[in-house]
Structure formats: structure tokens, C-alpha cells
């Protein structure tokens, strides 16, 4: 009877795994991808494939160079590649997703130690890099109807001309994955029901944006129906690695993203601001965690 395994308790583990979580995030993005194909055509799949392949490939290569175990099977690089592609305009040149994904994985993730040690969201870091490097490609959106390539509906030239129903369904200019709020919400509901993401971050983020719009007399629904706020709130800001763990930390983090995003959209030179709002709050995460540590059991006065 020496073939028994002996180890410390607990002796059973939950069914969950890092790989399953990453896979679920990919599944949750499928509705948005389907809508994107419907509105923009098959080329979006090429962009997505390039981005994911570049992310997975550069992760494996980087780990090989750094003599780390190759862990692309955990799915995190695939998620980064997919998320980055979702933030790109349909029809962007092939090198845009490739360079963005390589930057995301090599600079934002592996250089800092790989999965779990990166301090900013790799996909958004990749997007920020692309925005700075290829401003023209990154802001010329493919038309969804029979219109011409144009600016984002968030630009001032579009003020007051947006049909909310079209925006909700995705019949609106924008990045591949951000246009259909309906599809994103279906995916988000899946992640919420499966307990993969916490409601606190998206709810406080979007709630803050809408409240500020209300206070400053802007159309309230612009906050959620225009631009990438829904994609950002449910799929980017909820990134485990770069958001605070304690519940109250998450609330403050969500509010912070909302405030910064509103400020950028209202007073900034840049019409969108989701990327920078989330990246800035990523940086504040360690600080938020320090101030929102839960009070441990037993920190009480003596009875009797």
C-alpha cells in the first residue's frame, strides 16, 4: 500500500482553473465578434487572428529567451491578443495588430515578470502604444453602413446626431469589439453569472460616468452607448491582475476610472479616454489595495 499520495490538506480542489477562466473570457467575446463580422465583414477575423497569433507567439518566444517555462497554454496571451484586436478599427493595416500584440506581451507583460506581475493591462498598453505610433490608422473607422470612413461618433462634429438604438446594436462607427453594446452585455452577463468578473468595477465605472454626464448636463446614455466604455468596463477594467482585490478597493477603482474617463471626454483633447482612464487606475491599484485591506476576523475588543 505504498502507492498512496501523501500531501497536506486540502485534498480536493475546485474545478476552476486559470485556463478555464481565460477560455471563458474568450467565449464571452464571441457575441461581440459575431456582430463585428456582421457589421464590418470578414476582415475583422484576420485582424483578430493576427493579434492573437502575435500575442501567443511573442509570449512563447519571450519565455524561451528568458528561460522561463512556456505557459501559453494558460490562455492569458490569447485573451490579451483577442482583447487588443477588439479595440482596433476594422480594416486597419496588418502590422497594427501584430506590433500592438508584441508590445503588449513583451513590454507590458513579460518584462515585468509575466502573468500576474504586470502592473498595467497588457492589451490596453498595446493599444496606447498603437495610438501614439499610428494615430491615423487607429482613428479611421470603417463605415458600418454605406457611409465613408470617418471619425468616431464621440467627436464633436457628431454631437447630437446619434441614434441610440443603432448604437446599442452596433450600427455605429468604432473599434471591432466595442460597437455592439448588446453583444458585449450578453458576454458580460455570462461572465457575471459564472462569477468570473465582479459587478463592482463595471457598475461603479459606468455609473460614475452616467452620473457625471447627468450633473454636467450631457446626454446620460452617451456615457455607455458611445465609444468603448462597455468593452472597457466589463472586459478591461475587470482584469484581475491589474485591478484591486479588496471589494472596497474595486469600488474606488471603478469610480476613479469613471471620473478620469469623463474628464478626458469632456475637457481633454482626445474624444475617447477609456484606455487612459483604465491605465491610470491600473497604476493606482497597489495604493488602493493598501488602503482598503479587509479587517481581519478577531480585531475586536475583549468580551466580559
Amino acid at each position: 500500500m505504498s502507492n498512496l499520495t501523501v500531501s497536506l490538506s486540502p485534498h480536493v480542489r475546485s474545478e476552476n482553473s486559470t485556463q478555464k477562466i481565460m477560455f471563458s473570457v474568450c467565449i464571452a467575446l464571441i457575441p461581440a465578434l459575431v456582430f463585428a463580422v456582421y457589421w464590418f465583414g470578414w476582415t475583422v477575423l484576420l485582424t483578430v487572428a493576427l493579434s492573437m497569433a502575435a500575442a501567443i507567439g511573442s509570449e512563447a518566444l519571450m519565455q524561451k529567451i528568458l528561460k522561463r517555462p512556456i505557459t501559453v497554454s494558460d490562455g492569458s496571451a490569447a485573451v490579451t491578443g483577442l482583447l487588443l484586436a477588439m479595440t482596433l478599427p476594422a480594416g486597419c493595416p496588418w502590422y497594427v495588430p501584430v506590433l500592438g500584440a508584441v508590445f503588449a506581451i513583451v513590454i507590458a507583460k513579460q518584462v515585468f515578470g509575466g502573468l500576474g506581475d504586470n502592473f498595467v493591462n497588457p492589451a490596453l498598453a498595446g493599444r496606447a502604444f498603437l495610438l501614439a505610433s499610428f494615430p491615423a490608422s487607429m482613428t479611421s473607422y470603417l463605415p458600418v453602413a454605406d457611409a465613408v470612413t470617418g471619425a468616431t461618433p464621440l467627436s464633436s462634429e457628431f454631437a447630437g446626431q446619434v441614434d441610440y438604438l443603432q448604437a446599442f446594436l452596433g450600427q455605429i462607427g468604432g473599434s471591432i469589439g466595442e460597437v455592439s453594446k448588446l453583444a458585449l452585455l450578453i458576454g458580460a452577463a455570462f461572465l457575471l453569472i459564472k462569477g468570473i468578473i465582479d459587478w463592482r468595477i463595471p457598475v461603479t465605472y459606468l455609473g460614475t460616468m452616467m452620473l457625471l454626464n447627468l450633473i454636467f448636463g450631457k446626454p446620460v446614455l452617451d456615457a455607455v452607448l458611445l465609444g468603448g466604455t462597455v468593452l472597457g468596463a466589463f472586459f478591461m477594467a475587470t482584469d484581475y491582475v491589474t485591478s484591486p482585490v479588496p471589494a472596497w478597493g474595486r469600488v474606488i477603482y471603478g469610480v476613479g476610472i469613471g471620473v478620469i474617463n469623463f474628464a478626458i471626454r469632456t475637457w481633454g483633447a482626445y474624444p475617447e479616454g477609456v484606455t487612459y482612464a483604465i491605465l491610470l487606475m491600473n497604476i493606482a491599484t497597489p495604493l488602493l489595495e493598501r488602503f482598503t485591506r479587509p479587517r481581519k476576523y478577531g480585531e475586536v475588543k475583549r468580551h466580559a
Binding site: 499520495t5 485534498h11 482553473s17 485556463q19 509575466g114 500576474g116 481581519k296 466580559a304
Partner: protein, 444 residues
């Protein structure tokens, strides 16, 4: 019954398979025939080991003391069968260490020692002092797994006021149903034991906490408790509901101050099976020589067995039809806090609540990845610690940080490790941290 609110944190281990309880919850307690030889370890409790008080060749009767206490925090051990002492030597026990055991060859006469044959004492005539000495003599320890000597727990220092006697009928460990069957079938003994303990503690309020997945046990205990003033509380099903600190919080809304004992919150917590053992020891004058053990998991026929202390685990497994072919691990106790066995020769002791066979795939820890900071361990921690942070402290050998991050408050329930999708050995890491922090404190 009054329902109570749950504690913050905690998990639902093996929820998908009904916490594994369905295998044995409906099966009445069966008596396992006493084996040919019993191996009675001299240490079946937390505290000083006993010294053998019999010699090889002696004839002993059931209930006769074979190991005497050596120290205050200790509990004597007794022969669980009548027969001849054939060996006093170290044997492998649960936990992997070699402990001196008195080995008795069973003569199958099952004669009780004279000290056990006196007439039962009516509960009304028992006073506190009598009760305590009988509990000590009876070798009663905490039977939920911690095996703390009962007479020590029930002798609070002078000046300590005990407001609550809490009975632990949570049995929150997946798979285990021993306490469940005890409450269902032996509720009168348990209630009798509670009344004795309450007397010893100066009549505090008595509450029996039972998880709501044991409705039949709740009903049985309520019937048995009628007219005694003992309250039955239905607790939400959540692990680790049966942990002392969480039980106290749920039943009394008090918290045990960090680093202190339940007594400091005015509470004493006793397992329901231990209460039955107290009744036997005090009213029936029969020491603790048998207990109910759930044999379950990947065995042919799971059962709840009444087992003599000292019976090798292999005898239990055999009686239940043997292990399935794909068993990869056998655990003494439950899957969350039990102890994995090296082999099945180890004897059942007073603290053995279950023998659980897990298949290779069940016991497979899975692929470890980097921590993804998902926060599941934090939500699951019943002590409201940040387990992932402690795990990181240990990886960096940063014991000062581990101490600052309250490593010593960890109750090692395993919730964090269970829920971790990155399959990190968090609980084990924190155990290392606790040991290091304690060692460093001693040096200072």
C-alpha cells in the same frame, strides 16, 4: 429551531456532488466487529503523551486504563477490547509519525472493567467537580478532529465567565456524516452530555448549531432537547461553518479576539459527538473506547461505522468492500482538513471522524500557474486575510511581512487553496509562514 445568518467568507466545496454527503448520510450507524488486534496509541490528543500503565502479558478488560496522563493537558487512553497485551512498541499512526502503542490481542469476550459496571448516575445528582473528574478519567477529547482534552477545555480559569456553551453539529467537511448520524440516532446521549457540560461550566446558555442540510438531525435534536432549555440553531451550509471561530460568530455575534481562545469571547465550543462521549464517561462511567467513523468516497460500500479505538484503517476499508481501483489518496478525516495516510495500517483514534478514499483525478492538484490575483482566496477566507499576499510573502521568504499580514490568524481551513484557479499551494505556504513566524518570535 431558529435560523441564523452566515459568516462572511467561506466556500462551498464539492457543491456539485452535494458535498459528497449523499454517499453515507442516509445509512444508519453499523457496528464494526472488533478486530483481532487493536493498536492503542499513547497520544490521541493535543498535549502530553500518556505513559503505558500495563505490561506485555497483562490481561486487560474493556475500559481499563492502559495509558496514564503525564501532564495537565493530556487524556488517558483505555483498552477498547478485552484481551492480552502482546506488545508495547512504536507504530505508524495518522500523520506519519511513530507513536508508542499498546497492542492488545482480542479474546472476544468483551468483558468490561469493573470500574465501568457501576449503575448509571442520574443527571440531577452529578455535581460539577464529579463531572470534570469523570470526564478526565474517561479520556474524553474533542472528537471533531482537534482532539483537545475535554476536561481542560471545560475548566476555565477562575474569573473567566462562560456565557455560552456551543455545540458543534455543523459537520461542514464534505463527505463526513458521522456527527449527522450521531445527532439522528443518539440525540438523547448528546443532550445528556450537554446538560452535564453545562453543569460543569456553571449553566451558560446552550446552543446546538447544525447546518441546514441536516434537517432530520435538527428535528431529532429538537425533540430530544424539549424542556431542557437547550436551543437548536439552523446554520446556512457553508465551509468552514464548523470552525470554532466561525461557529461562535454565527451563534453569538461575538468574535474571538485575535490570538485568544473562545473563552475570551465567553464561549466554550464542544463537538456533538464529544458531548455523547461526556455522557458515557460521566453518567454511564464508560470511557471513550469507540467512535463513529464515516468510511466513504471511492470504496465499494460507504458506511457509518461504530469502531473500536485502535482498529486499523484497513479493517474499516475491508468491511466496506475495499478501495476502488483508481484510488490515489486515502485521508483520515474530511477532504478539506483531513490528514493523508501513508498506508492503511494506522489505527483509528479518538479524533478519526472519517476514512475517505479519493480517486486519482479527485486528488490531482492540477497545473499550477502564476497567481492571477483573481481574489477568490480573499472572498473565501473566513478570517478575512489576503491569502495570495501571504503566499507571495512566503515565496520571498519574507517572514516579517507574513507576520504583518496576519499569518498567525490563519486557521488552515484550506478554503483559499480549494478555490484557487492557479492551483497554488496557499494553505501549505501559510503553514510554513506560521512556523517561521513562531520560531522568530521565540528567538526574540
Amino acid at each position: 429551531m431558529n435560523r441564523v445568518r452566515s459568516f462572511a467568507g467561506g466556500i462551498h466545496p464539492l457543491h456539485a456532488i452535494g458535498h459528497g454527503k449523499g454517499l453515507s448520510a442516509g445509512l444508519p450507524i453499523e457496528m464494526l466487529p472488533a478486530p483481532e488486534r487493536v493498536y492503542i496509541p499513547m497520544s490521541q490528543h493535543i498535549g502530553a503523551p500518556c505513559g503505558p500503565c500495563v505490561a506485555v502479558g497483562d490481561h486487560v478488560k474493556r475500559g481499563q486504563k492502559v495509558g496514564e496522563v503525564r501532564g495537565f493537558v493530556s487524556a488517558p487512553v483505555h483498552a477498547s477490547v478485552s484481551g492480552t497485551v502482546v506488545e508495547i512498541a512504536p507504530h505508524l499512526v495518522t500523520g506519519g509519525s511513530m507513536v508508542p502503542c499498546v497492542v492488545i490481542e482480542n479474546d472476544f469476550h468483551d468483558e468490561w472493567d469493573e470500574s465501568c459496571l457501576a449503575d448509571p448516575l442520574p443527571l440531577e445528582r452529578i455535581d460539577a467537580q464529579q463531572a470534570l473528574s469523570a470526564i478526565l478519567e474517561g479520556g474524553v477529547v474533542g472528537m471533531g478532529g482537534a482532539t483537545f482534552p475535554a476536561h481542560v477545555k471545560l475548566s476555565p480559569p477562575k474569573g473567566a465567565k462562560i456565557d455560552y456553551l456551543l455545540l458543534n453539529g455543523a459537520e461542514c467537511e464534505p463527505y463526513l456524516t458521522a456527527d449527522h448520524r450521531m445527532m439522528l440516532e443518539q440525540s438523547a446521549r448528546i443532550i445528556g452530555g450537554i446538560r452535564i457540560i453545562a453543569k460543569a461550566l456553571g449553566d451558560p446558555a446552550c446552543i446546538v448549531g447544525i447546518e441546514l442540510n441536516k434537517k432530520d438531525a435538527i428535528a431529532a435534536m429538537e425533540r430530544a432537547a424539549q424542556g431542557t432549555g437547550i436551543r437548536i440553531a439552523g446554520m446556512p451550509v457553508k465551509y468552514p461553518q464548523g470552525s470554532e471561530k466561525q461557529l461562535i460568530q454565527v451563534l453569538t455575534h461575538r468574535q474571538v479576539p485575535s490570538g485568544k481562545l473562545p473563552m475570551d469571547a465567553g464561549c466554550v465550543v464542544v463537538n456533538v459527538s464529544s458531548a455523547a462521549a461526556v455522557y458515557d464517561a460521566v453518567a454511564l462511567r464508560r470511557p471513550l473506547t469507540e467512535r463513529v467513523v464515516t468510511v466513504t468516497g471511492a470504496v465499494a460500500h460507504p458506511k457509518n461505522l461504530l469502531v473500536r479505538v485502535g482498529t486499523p484503517a484497513s479493517a474499516l476499508v475491508e468491511y466496506c468492500g475495499g478501495l476502488s481501483e483508481n484510488v490515489g489518496r486515502v485521508v483520515s478525516g474530511g477532504p478539506m482538513m483531513g490528514i493523508a495516510l501513508f498506508d492503511l495500517s494506522v489505527p483509528v483514534t479518538k479524533g478519526t471522524s472519517g476514512v475517505l478514499a479519493l480517486t486519482k483525478s479527485q486528488a490531482d492538484p492540477g497545473v499550477t500557474t502564476n497567481c492571477i490575483r483573481c481574489g477568490r482566496c480573499v472572498r473565501g477566507c473566513p478570517m478575512h486575510l489576503l491569502p495570495y499576499e501571504l503566499c507571495n510573502d512566503v515565496e520571498k521568504n519574507n517572514w516579517a511581512a507574513a507576520e504583518k499580514h496576519n499569518a498567525l490568524d490563519c486557521i488552515e481551513c484550506g478554503s483559499c487553496t480549494y478555490v484557487c484557479p492557479a492551483k497554488r499551494p496557499i494553505t501549505s505556504s501559510i503553514r510554513i509562514a506560521k512556523r517561521q513566524v513562531m520560531a522568530l518570535r521565540k528567538k526574540k
